[in-house]
């Protein structure tokens, strides 16, 4: 790890490391509402099998997860739990926001108890729009994320262009074409 941080690894090796990371993501499903069922269909059902992409669902705890998929409406009551979950995950970690409720509040944009988008709490890498998005859309989101991981500069990330919250600046978040 020290060598990666200092940037002393040649490019071909970092690409190899990135590829091995992108094909071994352990995804923690934070399923809240209706999108959780589509996420379950994508991850658990034999038809939209996500394991063929190298992504394994159902980790034992968030401390063993690389990727969290927040699907469903985020309410103000639930927000502290999401923040705590995100902080429990070890770096490098990625976030997929699935469904319009998690993206921006969705159909409940004017509610008094809904957090208008999970990106108010945690930084998001990929937004998957839809209400609910089809399982194929979620798989597309994962593929886009894998492309980003492949081209990631781990040295820059570990050096940390951090702000005062010690969170690493991310690139522009990606949005899945519906």
């Amino acid at each position: 790890m020290g060598l990666v941080e200092k940037g002393r690894i040649p490019k071909s090796l970092t690409t190899l490391l990135n590829m091995s990371r992108k094909y071994s993501l352990w995804v923690y499903q934070w399923g809240l509402a209706c999108c959780a069922i589509e996420m379950g269909a994508a991850f658990g059902s034999p038809r939209y099998d996500v394991m063929r992409l190298g992504v394994i669902p159902f980790p034992a705890s968030p401390r063993q997860a690389d990727l969290v998929c927040i699907s469903g409406t985020v309410t103000d009551k639930m927000a502290p739990a999401i923040k705590r979950l995100y902080e429990q995950m070890p770096d490098p970690k990625y976030v997929i926001s699935m469904g319009s409720c998690a993206n921006c509040g969705g159909p409940y944009w004017d509610s008094y108890s809904v957090t208008k988008g999970v990106d108010q709490l945690i930084p998001v890498d990929v937004y998957v729009p839809g209400c609910p998005p089809r399982p194929e859309a979620l798989l597309e989101g994962i593929v886009l994320l894998q492309e980003r991981i492949r081209n990631e500069d781990m040295a820059a990330r570990w050096r940390g262009e951090a702000d005062e919250l010690h969170e690493v600046k991310r690139g522009e978040p990606l949005v899945v074409d519906a």
Partner: protein, 390 residues
């Protein structure tokens, strides 16, 4: 009808008494166990704070609200078609079933009725929503008890039903297909034959679940006699749907009230079970799923021709008044009390959702129960968080 023999019951009671004695002897302090809000066994974000004495629950307090989206306030600022869209997402597994009581109440206030073909198609989709919803329960209860296989079959076979709903309405979940006065559009070509084939497949799925789970010794030992709800307690808490029928109460809103839907036109049976325990609730839901496939087949055979939309103005203003309509949704009795003041949107809508009442019994039900049985009971009550919290 129960298989719990006297000897088994005696052993169970003796074990509880021994535990109680050990608890007093050891003088262990009670432990507060927090189940949820993110937990694989709660169907969504429900938090239950339990106080334990050893292995038994002394006091349980469900804390809902982690999915409270403020439906009743949101519908006051929306028009009726917009409310129909929003209301799909309350019980998010059987979505079409949420629209129907709302549309029926609005039609009751307007004094109109949908044409017969629309009523029959509504009933067919309602029963398809029931099958989609309850088939997930049949697999999911296995997962709660530790049997991991049935849920994969459930997800796989549910996809066939969702395909049918999608080809008719455009949405796998959240079809948003009902309109005041009828339906959005007619069925596509070939839908009827495909759905008939899918119903045959779902009956095969029910048989599979029966073989895998119902006859399984471990399943029986974990569910028989667990979480018994007597009928009078169930009624005073307002339990509905399969939970009520599993306690022996013969009440089904499809049969016991007249609504402009097509259930009275076909032959079907209401299933009850006298025991009131978790096994009974699973058994009743399995039979109901099978019955729903038979209802759909009969409806497909007799589907009348005609238009699918009554004459309604383009901008719908519902006359002033109050109306209450409730239907037998997959989770129980769901009803809407609409107060209208003659506007394009409702003045007040009270959404009576089944899971709210079903979960209000949990503090009473979980007293004295062992911790593993807590999961069994919650799984058998079958709630959906959107239905509790709205």
């Amino acid at each position: 009808m129960t298989l719990v023999t006297d000897r088994q019951q005696l052993a169970y009671v003796a074990a509880q008494a021994a535990d109680a004695r050990v608890n007093i002897e050891l003088e262990t302090e009670g432990m507060t166990l927090n189940i949820g809000p993110q937990h694989p066994a709660t169907h969504g974000t429900l938090r239950i704070i339990t106080r334990l004495d050893g292995e038994q629950v002394v006091w349980a307090d469900p804390v809902p609200g982690y999915m409270h989206r403020g439906y009743e306030k949101l519908v006051e600022v929306r028009s009726y078609p917009q409310v129909t869209t929003l209301v799909n997402r309350i019980d998010w597994l059987g979505s079409f079933a949420n629209e129907v009581p709302f549309i029926l109440a609005a039609e009751q206030l307007m004094g109109i009725e949908a044409p017969p073909r629309a009523q029959w198609i509504r009933t067919i989709l309602f029963e398809l929503a029931r099958i989609a919803n309850v088939s997930l329960f049949l697999g999911d209860m296995g997962v709660q008890l530790g049997a991991l296989t049935p849920v994969f079959y459930a997800f796989r076979d549910r996809e066939f039903v969702l395909n049918q709903i999608e080809s008719a309405t455009g949405g796998r979940f959240h079809p948003n297909y009902d309109r005041i006065g009828g339906l959005k559009e007619d069925l596509p070509k070939g839908w009827i034959d495909e759905t008939r084939a899918v119903m045959g497949k779902m009956r095969g799925f029910c048989d599979e679940m029966e073989e895998l789970l119902l006859g399984n010794e471990i399943f029986e030992a974990r569910t028989r006699g667990i979480g018994v709800i007597p009928a009078d307690v169930a009624l005073s808490y307002g339990l509905s749907g399969a939970n009520l029928r599993a306690s022996g109460v013969d009440w089904d809103l499809r049969r016991d009230q007249q609504l402009p839907m097509a259930w009275s036109q076909v032959d079907w049976k209401v299933w009850t079970h006298p025991d009131g325990d978790s096994f009974a609730r699973y058994w009743v839901r399995l039979q109901e799923t099978r019955e729903a496939t038979l209802i759909v087949e009969q409806l497909l055979d007799g589907l009348p021709a005609g238009s699918i939309m009554a004459k309604v103005p383009r901008i719908i203003k519902v006359p002033a008044g109050e109306a209450w309509v409730s239907t037998e949704n997959p989770l129980g009795e769901m009803g809407y009390y609409i107060v209208s003041k003659g506007d394009t949107g409702p003045f007040r809508v009270k959404i009576r959702s089944a899971s709210f009442n079903n979960i209000s019994i949990v503090p009473w039900l979980l007293q004295g129960v062992y911790v593993p049985d807590v999961i069994t009971i919650l799984a058998s009550l079958y709630f959906i968080l959107g239905d509790i919290d709205r």
